[in-house]
Amino acid sequence: MAILHTINQSPDTGNQLLACVSRALPDSAIILYEDGVYAALDKIAARPNIELQKLDCKLYAVRDDCEARGLQQAALSKMVKLIDYPEFVELVTQYDVVQAWS
């Protein structure tokens, strides 16, 4: 049973992302949206306490939320795939349950 995690908070505002990464299993995926997309910045994703590259999870960020916040694709981690809402919907159907961290 694979989990789709959703994160909507900057990792410097609260500990939503840390809570997620400390519990995300290899077959899961993480969608960063709203302020969650700041974690897609390469510099943040690679921080020692976050290390998204070590997770072995699929990583997604909502394109509109990145663009709205002025995040340039070049500054984002290569591990993160940009998606639009139709793909968000599709991912929800592909995973067994949604863990919407709050």
């Binding site: 909507n8 709203e34 968000f88 159907t93 919407a100």
Partner: protein
């Protein structure tokens, strides 16, 4: 697939109500169905028709109404959360002796049982905020 949508955050403090709208619209356009949209905690204020944002700002409650009319969506507002935060249907206000009521058309007020029922009867619960 059938989704239940839960929204928890106040639309003035979080983009959750708007993100949920985008998700719901994308799901419907892809041919999925929405069992119910449930507004809980701070999100209940979305359903007030006495909010007056400045003219250049969209009324997100109205956007939900438009989507609900187009797709016959059920927009349910939690009664206990709504009463705490001053969102009243005409019937509830009358029953409890309040003079004003402010629930938008297209929304209904009901209990938390509607949330549980929606999450049990749909294929996925998707929560925002």
């Amino acid at each position: 697939m059938q989704f239940a949508i839960l929204i928890n955050s106040d639309p003035n403090q979080s983009p959750a109500v708007r993100s949920a709208l985008k998700f719901t619209r994308a799901a419907l356009e892809a041919g999925h169905t929405i069992q119910r949209v449930f507004f809980y905690q701070g999100a209940v204020t979305t359903a007030s028709d006495m909010l007056l944002p400045p003219q250049n700002e969209e009324k997100v409650g109205e956007l939900w109404s438009e989507l609900a009319e187009k797709y016959k969506l059920e927009l349910v507002v939690c009664i206990a959360a709504a009463q705490r935060r001053g969102v009243w249907s005409e019937a509830e206000a009358g029953r409890l002796g309040y003079k004003a009521h402010n629930l938008r058309a297209d929304y209904t007020i009901s209990g938390l049982g509607q949330l549980i029922e929606a999450s049990v009867e749909s294929d996925r619960l998707v929560s925002f905020g």
